[in-house]
Symmetry: C2
Subunit: 522 residues, 2 copies
């Protein structure tokens, strides 16, 4: 069987990618080289959007000899991969533009801020583009669980380590009791049952009688030291108090840290996550900024893009197009796509989400409270406070005053920048009274109201994965779709990278092999 | 009551430290300033040992105007705070000296390698001395639990996340069942019981029927990606298999991460932990290297030290002495201490512990296995493999091939450097077969056999805290004792720092106030 015959039979190139790999058409090394064979010389590809998916597509296509043009509505590359430094401008749909006035060297990541260790392609591009990384400290036992106005522990600064260890202690004690009473069929041998009891004692920090007592795992109220300072431990919280204060609710509890994507080790680009986008954009030619796409038309052959540049309506013709526009943006662009694709564009929802960065005169969370990175969880509008995972022991710092989603994000999104700041300071002061004295300036981003994004990331259900999602995986004639919304890695930079590679392989297969069913030859 | 009267009545100065603080004699700021009042001018203090306790004592005493002389047996400062780079020499009692031949820029910390976020004094000195720090990534769900030769999961590379989530899943399922069967008296209201069940579902990742099924928390066997790649999950391990393979044993299980001192956030000095010792030693005058103390004699007034320098027996007189020598070393020094102190010196045990650094051509644990920092646990002689928390994505790297204690450390300690390397490679290859191809060179330290250390750190029981320990907290006439063995922070650099401050405050109280009972006036 010839390679061409094989490809003809496998149907679409997208599905053939692993097969191409097997045939040696692609060489995948441990370092994630992406060595497609054949040349794209003489073919012109227009790429819509200079976010990570668009940039990566252009980067990889250029390596293959394609001529690429990127149209980008903003005056910068990176899209949602955006770090807020002095001079950054936030354009939302119905409030005045905000310009960041943070001090030099201070920044926060308005978009993605974390790289899971298993997102190999993201780390591959960091390596290939020489973007230095550092640990993003997502797990920190010193942060707080703060319940506003609920139960006996409300409005108290309870450290994560107190709740984690008290809950482990109480629940392992209960299970050990159930096992000891032989009231439970564990389906284990006597010997294994004994081992489970040992496990429970170690896991929960139970005493010799398998009862939970406070241990130093939950911290000290007087630190141990030199000489006659053994340290002093507080009593555990009462189980009923933890529960009725809502601190064992999934909202609060550290199940987030159990999520595969949020498990340590996590990373970030040193100096801001958009260093990755910047490094990519330096490798790419022909990015046209301030060009807002208004229409995408498949032609008999090729594709026609119309866009606005400095008020003028312009037109661009290309052989093929890769469209990476977020769907809520694309939904307002004219097109002649199929009804299936059109439906996907109009009906796949995006998450409402927002962040605010607060710059403080000093890093009181480190100096006064020994919190270095990590996340405080709360039941109020803030949802989370992220402490910076860079410049530890530094003078100033920016923390994320909130990072919220859905209803809470819609609520803060409906406020002005100043009102958001007010809310973040008022609610944050309940946890950190130092806010009042140390606060300097803020910058807020409501992603679902941000021009050219209009949402955080695509949201799917298992039902829409079978319908709307699938429509975006094929090219619509000459137009391919890429971006995190065409992956199972929604919200992650890895989605942008993986989708770019998939699309490039798909497109390249089409231009170098003519017998591709279901897509129009060039 | 005058300050002097107050001090007379409080007994010894050591106990008076908090009282001095309260009286404003010391000013303790959140930034841990250590502003003792009064001058030490004209007083000569000899300090034995240029480890962190000795260096810090000299640093703080010099600020107060004391004249200090440090005698150090080694040709370097830092003591156990020691990073192994090219040229480092290891002197053990019964095997030839080993010299490190690592590549430039490669190092490992033979002594302390981690700073807990709540060791404020350690971080204070990093800040004060401008020693930059970075996260030490002690928690990593991607590392392995490796059971050699035990049970159905033996000799398999099982990721920590698999065991953590399977054990959480099975135990929460069991407890949920016990609660549902109402066979257990939880002493909770009906409403709270419902909440506990919700908590157990979230904690264990249970399904709607409160049964544990595999989820992506335990990782994928096929990663999710772009297009039609939702990812594929393996079945959980069987509970009985985990138990009989010993992977739920406290040895393996992540209870280490629950330990207060090992909870994230953790730090390390960038470039090697001994950057802290180096920064301190640059602030300190009169360190005499290669001076091995042979005798410490309290005189009627003052103290006489004899030591060997280049074979010659020498003598030094001083007003007071701070002795920071590890007890197993001090035990072989002549002295005229009280019988209580002498007994403490001779009978407080030190831990046997060892480490080996292995340099590899490439960071296969990162490139092939996505392990960035953290610790693999095993039941064999290695006990632990530590992956480096610096230079991620770099070319080469040094990992700790073993870090073991007690019997296992005594066993490896009895081997030659070459035999230790052999053992580390043989056992390590079971987990990382890449060892064979990628290994370059090693360097091993057995602390209990290391000249001028003779142990890892002091070990106490609650009984010896009341007896032997207490003898070291008072000066023996003109000789004060400092070091981690005079604290409740054994094994930690914080112990050295805290003990130095305690001793300096104690000594300074004595030289600036004459009416100190129980100690001889100068």
């Amino acid at each position: 069987m010839s390679r061409r015959d094989f490809l003809t039979q496998t149907g679409k190139i997208a599905a053939a990618y692993p097969a191409m790999l097997a045939l040696g058409m692609l060489k995948e090394s441990p370092a994630h080289a992406f060595d497609l064979k054949g040349s794209g010389k003489g073919k012109h590809i227009v790429i819509l959007g200079a976010g990570l998916a668009g940039l990566t597509s252009a980067y990889e296509l250029s390596k293959l000899g394609y001529q690429c043009t990127i149209l980008e509505a903003r005056n910068r590359a990176g899209g949602r991969c955006w770090s807020i430094r002095k001079g950054a401008e936030q354009h939302e749909t119905d409030i005045p533009t905000q310009t960041a006035t943070f001090d030099e060297g201070q920044y926060f990541n308005a978009g993605p801020s974390r790289i899971p260790h298993h997102h190999e392609l993201t780390l591959h591009y960091c390596r290939e583009l020489n973007v230095p990384i550092q640990v993003y400290n997502n797990v920190n036992e010193a942060t707080y669980y703060f319940s506003e106005g609920k139960g006996p522990l409300s409005n108290k600064k309870v450290r994560a380590r107190e709740i984690h260890n008290d809950m482990r202690g109480y629940t392992t004690e209960l299970l050990a009791k159930a096992i000891d009473q032989q009231s439970l069929d564990t389906a284990l041998t006597k010997e294994d049952t004994q081992k489970i009891l040992e496990y429970l004692r170690a896991e929960g920090g139970l005493d010799i009688d398998k009862l939970y007592k406070a241990s130093d795992r939950r911290g000290y109220i007087e630190s141990p030291g030199a000489g006659d300072k053994p340290g002093k431990i507080a009593d555990p919280h009462k189980l009923a108090d933890i529960i009725s204060s809502g601190l064992a609710d999934p909202d609060f509890y550290n199940v987030a840290e159990y999520t595969y994507e949020l498990q340590m080790t996590m990373f970030q680009a040193i100096g801001g996550m958009d260093k990755i986008a910047q490094a990519l954009s330096q490798k790419v030619q022909n990015i046209h900024f301030n060009c807002e796409v208004t229409a995408i038309y498949n032609q008999e052959q090729g594709v026609k893009i119309t866009y606005k540049e400095k008020g003028a309506e312009k037109e661009l013709l290309a052989d093929l197009c890769i469209c990476t526009l977020p769907l809520p943006v694309l939904s307002n662009v004219q097109h002649n796509f199929s009804s299936d694709v059109s439906r996907a564009i109009d009906y796949i929802p995006y998450i409402a989400t927002g962040k605010i960065g607060l710059q403080f005169k000093r890093r009181f969370w480190e100096e006064d409270e020994q919190i270095y990175g990590g996340i405080t969880h709360t039941n109020n509008e803030l949802t989370q406070i992220f402490y910076p995972s860079y410049d530890y022991l530094g003078k100033k710092g920016i923390l994320l005053g909130y990072y919220n989603f859905n209803d809470k994000a819609r609520h803060t999104g409906n406020l002005t920048h100043q009102q958001r700041e007010q809310l973040a300071l008022e609610k944050g002061s309940l946890i950190h009274p130092q806010y009042k004295q140390e606060f300097e300036k803020s910058f807020s981003v409501s992603w679902h109201k941000t021009k050219y994004s209009m949402g955080g990331w695509g949201l799917y259900t298992s039902a829409t994965r079978q319908t709307l999602y699938k429509s975006l995986l094929q090219p619509d004639k000459q137009v391919y779709f890429a971006g995190e919304h065409t992956t199972y890695l929604n919200a992650w930079m890895a989605g942008a990278f993986e989708s770019a590679r998939r699309t490039v392989a798909d497109l390249h297969g089409r231009t170098t092999e003519q017998h591709i069913p279901k897509t129009t030859p060039l």
